[in-house]
Amino acid sequence: MRLRLLVVVLAVAVLALGLFFPWVKTPVLVALANGLAVSGVIVLIRAGQVSFGNAMFACLAGYGTAFMAREWQLDALLLIALSCVLAALAGAIIGFFIVRYRGIFFGMLNLALSMVLFSVLGKFGAVTGGTDGLRFDRPTLAFVHFEREGFETALLVLALVLSIGAGWVVQRYFASVSGQALAAIKTNETRLEYLGISAKRVFWGGYVLAATLCGLGGSLFALTQGLVTPEMGYWVRSGELVFVAILGGSGHALGAFIGAFVYEFMKLYAAALLTGAWQLVMGLVLIVMVFVAPKGVFGMIERHLRSRSKA
């Protein structure tokens, strides 16, 4: 109950932030897009697996969005939907063989695949625009042609709705049979198999969901920027997604969005105050978080809520 209230308050706050302070609209949008991708990473963390390549799905969906916007001038809603399908398909295909791997090998194989995508995008410049990336014109949103300002506001509302929807889906998934089985991959995979549940199939479902969410985030990110670059799929980006998941707290989908906002705004301030040292600041924050609050910001909030409801 308290949690639901918290989500509503946060959503209203984000909306107000975007509407009353237009200059933070872009960082807010980027944070929401990142949050969506991170909520996918959280699904994998639930299974005890960490992928250092999940940005590839965001990158793929981003390029999908850019291509379709350039070639077919589709509507933004359609772009997002089709890009998600693209990411989900890619996740389903890659998932077929990658669900056999656990731990570091899972992470590394994802990393290698994402580097293949990254290199291909950078190398075949004729099609992909090379390292400069692809630029595309602002599409219509729900078949309305917006100016830049209006487009961003509409996109913000859309992103917020999508984020709440995605968070709800992830939490529903965690509560479902598959979600519980997914968590069992972390605790004891052998027992899961003894129960007659295929760990691979369960993990495949989680992997596809993660890929779709990353794709959703990537597509939204591309629409926000109007530009996609191979950097979206670089392994350091994937590492950042995992970082944000830990920062926000991987116990709940809300953690992904809290983490994404903290990350985005800390990055903004660190970049403004200490030019060229934001990575340093973020790295130190992450180290402190791992030692002080390994459950992330959401873990701290949750503890606070619990102690309040007890009292």
Binding site: V50, R100, M115, Q279, L280, L286, I287
Partner: protein, 334 residues
């Protein structure tokens, strides 16, 4: 590296610029796609590149074997080693010290960097996260990578750093009609082989090395047997870090160092280590040769996919042998 071909698929000219900037002695007109000298050139490129890859991967795999942590900050050690070696090289020229010192300075730079960063990483971070969730362990080294990435940008700036005195000093060598630098053809592979043999001997032949091996087998049992595991892990990080830094230091006279080079080397050494099998020294050697050679041959045969080659090999190997080429089912890891 740019290879242009005429209509009859004949090499018209070869223009080497980026990765191996010192091979420009080789300029021939109208040669067949893969004649003897081109083959020799690709072979030499591959071996010298593999030697560097191997040194970095060796450090990574050693640290993983002992700590069971994949140290993402290892790429930063490569970068810092390279930058620091370049700085020392500049200092030597600036103060008019004998140029003879330039070559040993590379090793000194690597050792200092390895001891310094290895000690800091071990005492400040890795020692404190041994009992944590593997995801958090990985993330802490990623955080260290982020910090080091910015630190090296602050110290050495964003301009490319490139000091090649050592290579020009040593001169060139002509093999199979190809002129190649002695440094890349002889010194780099020699150092790699020495590191391989030396580490093997250290682990199998000395008391301390056996303690290291014991810790890789089972940390707790080793502690119970009286092994000072704290000292062993510190030693491992120092030696492993120094190997990573040595890779960078030895690469510094042949490549220009720019920000981001650590991240790039990180994934490449990941690829080598994963292909060879985590914690496998012999596996890392074979994998480095495989990846180094295929990449350099790809440069000449299929330049479009050159950057993809290491990852394609890694994916291919992991699909067929999920634990890497040489990981035995037995407990022995180093």
């Amino acid at each position: 590296m740019e290879v242009r071909r005429s209509a009859a698929n004949q090499l018209v000219s070869i223009d080497c610029r980026c990765r191996f900037p010192l091979h420009c002695h080789f300029k021939t007109d109208s040669i067949a796609p893969m004649n003897a000298s081109l083959f020799a050139l690709a072979l030499m490129d591959g071996v010298s590149y593999a030697a560097l890859l191997f040194l970095v991967a060796l450090g990574l795999t050693l640290i993983f074997g002992v700590m069971r942590i994949l140290n993402i900050a290892h790429g930063s050690l490569y970068a810092c080693g390279g930058y620091f070696a370049a700085t020392l090289g500049l200092v030597i020229t600036k103060f008019g010290l004998p140029p003879m010192l330039a070559f040993p300075a590379l090793f000194v730079a690597a050792l200092l960097m390895g001891v310094f960063l290895g000690t800091v990483l071990e005492f400040a971070l890795l020692r404190r996260i041994l009992d944590k969730d593997p995801i958090l362990q990985l993330l802490v080294t990623f955080a260290a990578f982020m910090v080091l990435e910015d630190l090296q940008r602050m110290i050495w700036g964003v301009q490319p750093v490139f000091v090649s005195d050592v290579v020009t000093q040593m001169g060139t060598l002509s093999v199979a009609g190809v002129t190649y630098t002695r440094y890349q053809l002889l010194v780099l592979p020699a150092v790699a082989v020495l590191a391989f043999v030396g580490l093997r001997w250290f682990l199998a032949g000395t008391a301390l090395g056996r303690q290291v091996t014991a810790v890789t087998h089972h940390r707790e049992v080793a502690t119970a047997m009286g092994v000072n595991t704290g000292r062993v892990t510190w030693l491992t990080l120092t030696v492993g870090g120094a190997l990573g830094a040595l890779g960078g230091a030895l690469a510094s006279p042949t490549t220009s160092f720019t920000p981001g080079i650590g991240a790039e080397m990180m994934v490449l050494s990941f690829a080598v280590v994963a292909t060879g099998g985590l914690g496998q020294i012999g596996g890392a050697a074979i994998a480095a040769l495989m990846i180094g050679l295929s990449r350099s041959f790809a440069v000449y045969l299929m330049p479009e996919i050159e950057v993809l080659v290491p990852y394609l090999i890694m994916v291919g190997v992991l699909l067929i042998r999920p634990e890497g080429l040489f990981s035995a089912a037995a407990a022995r890891r180093i």
